[in-house]
Point group: C2
Chain length 343, copies 2
DNA sequence: AGCCGATCTGGGAGCGCTCCCAGGTGTGGC
DNA sequence: GCCACACCTGGGAGCGCTCCCAGATCGGCT
């Protein structure tokens, strides 16, 4: 009683077992690499599965195992900001690769608005995924605290807003990166080193600003008044650069807290007739693969590898998955400086 | 893989029903907005669900409904290429939004290598998703033909390699876009209009090249020798521009088949001392929100909205989901020209 | 009154899988 | 010869949900 041609029914485990002449249990064991299956039975089952084009029903499987094999990657950021932030894009791609490499499926979640918050929480509660990697950079974001109460394992990328301890965090050394950038400028003989800082409602930009300030002081230079805050956008960077030039026409270098803002700064400097790097050296942060080398001149930038960050996060999450009691800690990843023509 | 240790029991539908003092069936009906539930019962059930923090087990639900609520977005392209292609990024984000708006979850699939092909097919077969949106631009890509045999509904974004009819396709008017670009240049008085074409193993770049050629002929201009092929990358665009300048130092405009290649062309033109747009006008294709306005000068570009494309694809897929016999056809979306300072 | 259809309810079956347990077979040790 | 102990197998139970069906209730008609 072979399946009729054009039969729409997908074969089930029972079909495979019958075809192979064994029981459902044995077929299951063979397909799942369990112990205690004879080589003969295993081979018959695998052949049957191949012949019938069998693929297990995931819903049925995860109904009983209570595991889905999927991991959520949550990006909590206004949509408009996301559109302007190539770093997040890189995180998404890295997440996909890293999870695929360990046989997991990535499920992407954008959580912008307040109403998304409850949707996100419900989704993560709903048993769709086994765990989550969460990026929620904004200090006022209520998401991290809400997620903390959930039963599923979570690893944060960057500081978790409003939470000091008790969570797993993988962050970059933002302050150290800023230090690298400024030291590079100092070593090149620059003395009037300004900065365009990122939004001070996020810890990464805060740390970068702090690194800039401390390094200047260590070098015996005066940071006073040489900082301008912007919003990580191109236009914001351009405006901040105008403001800096107006206040300090004699500046000879600028450390910009993101590649995108650096593009805006470049535009302003060019319009003001400043040559780069001759008159003003520019160093930025992110080292985005698409943007930084594409500029004119190519940007010197603090390199942080999203793949590396996500890799570490996945590793921790997997350990968490079979050992709930893993002691939470903060991991800080090192950054480096990619030197190009802008400095 | 049993339940994790220390896992608190999640409430089931049965719990909610008991708490509300009704049967499991009635609770199910109330939560699913079925007809034939009294207002009183419905309210008791909803209150109980809220109080207990109930969220339905998706695995159990889709085991019986044979629907997962998830839609795959498949991007078939080498990883390295993806990294350089901001348009794909925009597609991903648009896919998420459009699917979320209709209550579906996006599951992202990258299908680069040959081994990914069978993994992708197996995944789509595995009942993880209800349907798929597929982007497979390369003519030699075996994926579309393989997917065609599957039982799940599929809509292609752009031409499906090697398939002429019988599939659902949403494409942009690539030839018309090229026509817009070249007409714009002709109207501005340009007479030596070159082009940097994209890879001629994909139909979109082929159509763009054809549009350029036809429009020149229509305007009584000679396209001969004024075309150079490149690979959609920045470096490729820069090299192609060098080649064009070498062969035709007198060219006064160039139509570039992507924003990224246009960035490279800009770089080359600048190095060669050509002023833009005074000496050479530049028009590109894609109008990427991150890239095109960020250039110096900002790029005039043929605008194609990924969101619009994905929106149309989702609409078709949803109709396909409850009407398998929807007649396949090719939808062509119009494009427009975003005029900026480079032309 | 009586009846019929519309409205509402609860229980049973079953989706396809994994796990547990009872039982069967073979091998070696006393 | 018998027991102990591996190895291997099949059937039953049940995960949490939706759907079907039978039955109960309540009008509004004739």
């Amino acid at each position: 009683m072979g399946p009729r041609a054009g039969d729409e029914e997908r074969p089930t485990l029972e079909d495979v077992a019958a075809f192979a002449g064994v029981s459902r249990s044995t077929a299951s064991r063979a397909l799942n690499d369990d112990a205690y299956v004879s080589a003969a039975a295993r081979e018959k089952v695998l052949a049957a599965a191949r012949d019938l084009g069998y693929s297990p029903n995931q819903a049925a499987r995860s109904l009983v195992t209570r595991r889905t094999g999927a991991i959520a990657v949550v990006l909590s950021e206004p949509e408009a900001r996301l559109l302007d932030d190539p770093y997040r894009t890189a995180v998404m791609r890295a997440g996909y690769r890293e999870l695929a490499d360990v046989g997991r499926q990535m499920v992407l979640i954008f959580s912008d608005t307040r109403e998304d918050l409850s949707k996100t929480v419900r989704f993560l509660e709903g048993g769709h995924v086994d765990g989550a990697l969460v990026f929620a950079p904004h200090r006022a974001d209520p998401l991290p605290k809400a997620l903390r109460l959930l039963r599923i394992p979570i690893v944060f990328g960057g500081q978790a807003a409003g939470i000091r301890r008790g969570v797993h965090v993988v962050d970059f050394d933002n302050e150290g990166g800023a230090r690298l950038a400024v030291q590079h400028l100092v070593a090149a003989g620059r003395r009037r080193i300004a900065t365009i800082a990122g939004p001070q409602d996020q810890s990464a930009p805060i740390d970068r600003l702090a690194g800039w300030r401390k390094t200047l002081l260590d070098a015996g230079l005066d940071p006073a008044e040489l900082a301008e805050e912007a919003d990580f956008t191109l236009a914001g960077g351009a405006n901040a650069m105008s403001a800096l030039l107006a206040k300090h026409p004699d500046l000879d270098a600028v450390f910009v807290a993101s590649d995108m803002m650096a593009v805006g700064a470049l535009r302003t400097l060019d319009a003001a007739g400043r040559r780069i790097p001759d008159d003003v050296a520019v160093v930025s942060f992110d080292d985005n693969a698409t943007l930084a080398p594409a500029m004119d001149p190519p940007l010197t930038s603090v390199h942080q590898d999203p793949r590396e960050q996500v890799h570490a996060m996945v590793e921790i999450l997997l350990r968490l998955l079979d050992d709930q009691d893993l002691k939470p800690r903060q991991h800080v990843l090192p950054v480096s400086l990619a030197v190009r023509a802008s400095s």
